[in-house]
Symmetry: C2
Subunit: 437 residues, 2 copies
């Protein structure tokens, strides 16, 4: 993509309304603009990151046997009356009346909606288990929306729902999603620690939050040092096999959010305890028959009797992750994207756009990499080099290539890794081979 | 995908509430379920088609130099007060008050929202032209929603917006989108005829509807016979070149929707006139400074003066297209998907799931095609063959492969083209080669 033909309205000044670093950097890097309080317009650069995160979430949901569907944003109030949550939910639910004065709401979550579809379509234990998910915009009418996409009103969430004939099946589904989440966040370059959590308005008796470590995070957390070396990298995962050993490995050690901390256990841990800050990016729940019973979502069991299905739900904050990744990965110059979610893999800078030789060389590198299918942003504008370097650092593209008059004479371009700052002069041919697999 | 592990709740009975064929077939084929009036849950099969249509729309928008972004579903009322459309829009606009009693609305279109972002980010003619688009859910509170996704309340639309320094630039953008739309619909296997249209609440003095031919269509149309042989197949399209000749080719002949018909011209056409029915799937508008002037979206021109930008907007009904394609392509047995949008390319039927040899053969075909990256739906259920054949016809997968005991002995499978009904007995190896490119 040529920057001259792109739409990347960066800001030089830090917007006064932005209190946290991800909010500031998303505005400055031209990723988004505010529409109204807690509601954002995603500009092209921001949307690219959002879509990359969404793609990873989708691929991992699919890999673990979840089937994608799509529920609407607007739900009828009567569904929530059936579960008893319509009045219980409070003012965070955006309530709407249509032209016929029927009560609607902008869905903050979808347990009722999917339970209603399930009861109309699934009648027998033979059709179970089922794991269904969707990725859809949701609305939560926060009193004081702030922190950008980290606590917006309109936000993109992946929510999955499991339906099983009994508790054992439901725990298998829970474990699937547990391991799926570990792999999802690890693929994004994040260290996410599962922590026992309160179940809140979703309900149930088993629940884990997945918390990303970030010094600027919203909540205080404490966890065992060993979490810092846990990884699924060398673990064979059979998604249809017994995942309990992996769940056990990730729940054996102490980890707690502020409300759940156990000072006694923490004292015993001594030097193994790390106190820090984190950001919740996922939350999974097992709540049994909390929705299936009042809503009549039953199936015929092998014994012939009608039983209410055992359910769980599993959320990932897709738009929140954009902010969370920035909180976990930035420096004084701007964002530092992990490769897997970066909006472009390479940022190419032409230092002297008014120099024909320099521009010809930069054009060639651009065309070769583009032809090879590399996602590349090419700063071909007639701006000062300092502006170009600063903006490329700000938007956080993982690798930078700089074409300047001196290099052109020597047949080289400068390569720089955004994260480490490492630099090298490379022959043009080597650069192309480096990124073309 | 194994059907036993999929979620495809088909219906044997035709739902009473569905008045038109696409609505009936989408419900019967397990593509969607109603949530409330005019609001639908997209089940996995329906979502696959929706995503295929969305992908084609996106690829063609990108190819013509549109940049993708994403605006929120909920907009502040004050933006619409600036353009004067808040009161003018009438009861089809879903108006909302949040917990602080601020007026919001569920966007039916996005001229105001994007004009507001534009005026904050683009200051100079040097940054023009710009063509921006998004694909987002919208809401129109129809008095009597019906006809399924063809006239739903919550619907998915692609809307693009062009910003140019003068009328000539705006017409170039209009022509780009005109040709882009022709190519987009042709790729979906549709014949869409551009027709001069009224501009309605969007405004402006130049507008075309793109109308798909379908005997069951909502509107009466009349057009010159030559449209039936027009195609872009052998046309070289330079998206940055002069597209006026292509636009001229598609606007030279008479074509009109019911409100725009000219009985005089029609009489002259004689036998060249075809009267039929159609469905509007796209609509493009050039409206100059209708929004930029009242909202103050100006740029500095080369002369130094501040000028209001010239704008157009360009919509495609993405979710409506799912219904429109079915209206244009079905038979008594069910849907007949064009290859480009089909939810799966191949439907594989195991006639005797309780026969070990037959199942082993079907499994092998399935695994080989799947490994080759072919989108395949494998009916591995223990159902009667008649049920399987009927469902595979109903859901409209373009090619069917049937593995039965007789074929297994001979080392063959039966191949059938859904559209033509053509059948052939093919050796297993030939089948795999047929679909693997």
């Amino acid at each position: 993509m040529r920057l001259s033909a792109y739409y990347l309205p960066t800001l030089r000044e830090t917007p006064a309304e932005a209190q946290i670093v991800s909010h500031r950097l998303m505005l400055r890097a031209g990723m988004m603009r505010q529409s109204s309080a807690g509601i954002y317009v995603w500009l092209p650069l921001g949307l690219r990151v959002l879509r990359n995160i969404e793609r990873i979430v989708r691929e991992e949901q699919d890999a673990f046997g979840c089937r994608e569907m799509l529920m609407p944003t607007i739900q009828p109030a009567e569904l929530w009356r059936e579960s008893g949550r319509y009045d219980a939910y409070g003012p965070e639910m955006l309530r709407i009346r249509d032209r016929h004065d029927r009560e609607l709401l902008y869905g903050p979550t979808n347990e009722e909606q999917l339970t209603a579809v399930f009861r109309d379509t699934i009648k027998s234990y033979r059709q179970l288990p089922k794991l269904l998910y969707h990725i859809q915009w949701k609305f939560r009418d926060e009193v004081r929306p702030r922190f950008g996409v980290m606590r917006g009103r309109e936000f993109l969430m992946k929510d999955a729902y499991s339906f099983d004939i009994d508790r054992d099946g439901a725990i298998r589904a829970y474990n699937k999603m547990f391991v799926c989440y570990l792999r999802t966040f690890e693929r994004m370059g994040l260290r996410a620690i599962p922590m026992r959590a309160e179940t809140g308005p979703i309900g149930g008796d088993l629940s884990h939050e997945f918390v990303v470590l970030a010094d600027t995070g919203e909540s205080e957390i404490a966890y065992h040092r060993d979490f810092l070396s846990l990884s699924l990298k060398n673990t064979d995962i059979d998604v249809d096999g017994d995942l309990q050993p992996i769940v056990d490995r990730y729940t054996a050690n102490y980890a707690a959010t502020d409300e759940q901390r156990d000072r006694g256990r923490e004292a015993e841990l001594g030097d193994d305890l790390i106190a820090g800050r984190g950001i919740e990016v996922g939350h999974i729940f097992y709540f049994g028959t909390k929705y299936s019973k009042p809503m009549g979502a039953t199936v015929t069991a092998a014994t012939g009797e009608e039983v209410a299905v055992e359910m769980g739900s599993y959320g990932i904050g897709v738009s929140r992750l954009v902010g969370a990744i920035i909180e976990a990965s930035h420096d004084d110059a701007g964002i530092v994207w992990p490769d897997a979610v970066a909006p472009f893999q390479i940022g190419l800078i032409n230092v002297k756009a008014d120099d024909a030789e320099c521009t010809a060389a930069a054009d060639t590198v651009y065309e070769q990499l583009r032809a090879a299918g590399v996602d590349i942003l090419y700063d071909d504008r007639a701006e000062r080099p300092g502006v170009k370097f600063a903006e490329m650092d700000l938007i956080g593209v993982p690798y930078q290539l700089t074409v300047g008059p001196r290099g052109v004479k020597a047949g080289t371009v400068e390569w720089k890794a955004r994260r480490s700052g490492e630099r090298a002069e490379l022959p043009v041919s080597a650069v192309v081979n480096l990124f073309v697999r």
